[in-house]
Symmetry: C2
DNA sequence: CTGTTAGCGCCTTCAC
DNA sequence: GTGAAGGCGCTAACAG
């Protein structure tokens, strides 16, 4: 109910309470010098009228809104959704509100431009600071703090949260090589992102460490989407000398790999082992369960939010980058090759996770 | 880069371009009467300075922001995420922007209150209208249009989008009964919501239609969460006269049912058949695949967004409720009971869906 | 065509 | 302790 009423303003409250606008403002902001009885009276009117001060007007006057903005590349992107969950939890605990801004498809040509638009739209307007997830833009200008989750590789030097991608990818390679695999395909991520670059480095590190020559055919350029992961895997699978394992730079790509492998009439893990990266919720529900790297995405969101809040409150150093730990989650998508099934296990013993 | 600069205002642009503030404003809003060369000149300065008008100030003056708000109960709620995706698509196609607002946990005691706060916070401030998903509040006051997705059963008479829940639930019952099940457990949804009430009605309709007596033990009060669905299923499973099938009011509850059944050492569908409702993405990935009702959630979001936009533009009637179609999606979580495996199939022939 | 003048709703001096 | 006045960044009348 209650449609059609025009919004009530601070003036309505003042008039009804029989005081001046500034007195109401003082009550709203819990200023000290208001007579207790006046305070009460105004509070009652506020409640009765259901008044809420306008975010627009408020943020225009005082540089504090207690709202932080989250800019996501795409709602279809599970990684971003997980970050959002983490941010949400942290934010509510700190008494902040939280606004999500998201554009259309991730591969839209103007993504970078839209991001910049959003940044200046939210910033210096409505939010006290911004969290940017997997940005496409490499430069932006803003007056309030920004924290980036999974930054661009040539990104601006602003605080960032990122996983220990290279080490984690190396760990995956050690695991696969320990299982006896030597022809290992790799589906890269969006190479503009630092995470994608680092994971590729980890892949190469793994080969080098094991003395395996790189084969360019085995590296397919993906972009973290299921669709392109699917196309990459199709190419890998139809190779004359087919790989025995495929390492996908993220779980969505791995889902694409699953689809391609299935369509090729092959079976996971019997014919091809698959490893992903991210440990998104779906990874636990695939058949077979996807072995992947947990990078605790929601924790990344939480850390980003906390760092942003510290920045807003002037308690934090500038361009600090937080490295987040990772963990190999072994499910059922990999198998040991017969020839070397009993070789040494990887050094960082992975935990077998049930669910 | 570019931190620390204070936000540039329309005045900076005006000064730099050597024109008045209002001229810049005219350029910004594409007013007709601006000299082409002036327009160019101003545009160049705008771009060079990287200026974006302040949402706060803009929305304070002109009652149009081209931003619509989405209020979700909880980011952990897959239904809401799906709605968000649909809204997002519709919104960007219509040239609107889109802001998500979400509070903490759904069962927090003050959810209704927070919703109301958000409504008046967003409304008459920053957005031209609001989409409210599965509201906890039953009354609110706002000056701008609101569309509700999956409304409260005692909700205010505002435009709503809701599935044909009762008929869909009846259809599920016909399906299960057609498979020979007669003891069918039901895990309800959040009974404050109309959808939950209607699905329960459909369940009872199905029993009545088949001449099966209601057994109160078989109806467990859930709330659309996995956790409570789990608890409900535990009770159903440990019943002396255990049901042969469980119909969960949504997929999340069904996931809880899966867990409880598994923990009880039983197997789906051999020992117990399970049906869900919603067809969230996870439903396709469970083992075994969950038979459920697709209610095309993203379409609901799309429809809600389009109706809201029509409302904002004054082209729509007031309290219209849109009924959305549903479809039974048969996967692998139900089996026919031996005694009546060859009975008649349900009237509305369900489509067997592969993925 | 463009500049000037009012405010939008609110907060912050500065008087009283 | 409280009210009046000014201005945040912007748009919408009016003048010219």
């Amino acid at each position: 109910m209650g449609r059609g009423k025009k919004a009530i303003t601070i003036r309505d409250v003042a008039r009804t309470a029989g005081v001046s606008v500034s007195t109401v403002s003082r009550v709203l902001n819990d200023k000290d010098d208001v007579a207790p009885e006046t305070y009460e009276k105004v509070q009652i009117v506020i409640r009765r009228l259901g008044y809420t001060s306008s975010l627009a007007a408020r943020s225009m006057r005082s540089r504090r809104t207690n709202v932080i903005g989250l800019i996501m590349p795409d709602v279809e992107y599970p990684f971003a959704i997980e970050v959002m969950k983490g941010v949400n939890h942290a934010i509510t605990q700190h008494g902040y509100e939280f606004i999500v801004y998201t554009g259309g498809e991730i591969r839209n040509e103007s993504t970078a431009e839209r991001e910049r638009r959003y940044i200046s739209l939210l910033n210096s307007s409505i939010t006290d600071g911004i969290i940017l997830v997997t940005p496409a833009t490499t430069h932006f200008s803003t007056a309030s703090p920004v924290v980036v989750v999974d930054p661009n590789s040539q990104g601006p030097p602003c605080p960032a949260v990122i996983a220990t991608n290279r080490a984690a990818a190396l760990n995956v390679m050690e695991y696969l090589i320990g299982l006896g695999h030597r022809r290992i395909g790799f589906v890269t991520g969006r190479l503009g992102l630092e995470s994608a670059v680092r994971r590729l480095e980890g892949y190469k590190d793994g080969l080098r460490q094991a003395g395996i020559a790189q084969d360019p055919d085995l590296i397919q350029i993906g972009d973290y989407t299921e669709e392109v992961g699917y196309a990459c895997a199709q190419r890998l699978v139809s190779l004359a000398n087919r790989p025995t394992a495929i390492f996908a730079a993220n779980d969505q790509s791995a889902l694409g790999v699953y689809r391609a492998v299935e369509e090729a009439g092959l079976e996971i893990p019997k014919d091809i082992s698959v490893v992903g990266f991210d440990n998104i919720p779906e990874a636990a529900h695939t058949k077979p369960g996807l072995t992947t790297v947990d990078q605790f995405i929601d924790q990344m969101g939480r850390v980003a939010a906390e760092q942003l809040i510290a920045l807003i409150q002037g308690e934090a150093q500038e361009s600090e980058t937080r490295k987040m730990p990772t963990q190999l989650v072994v499910r059922d998508s990999c198998r040991a090759l017969a020839t070397s099934a009993f070789e040494a296990q990887p050094s960082a013993a992975p935990r077998k996770v049930a669910k």
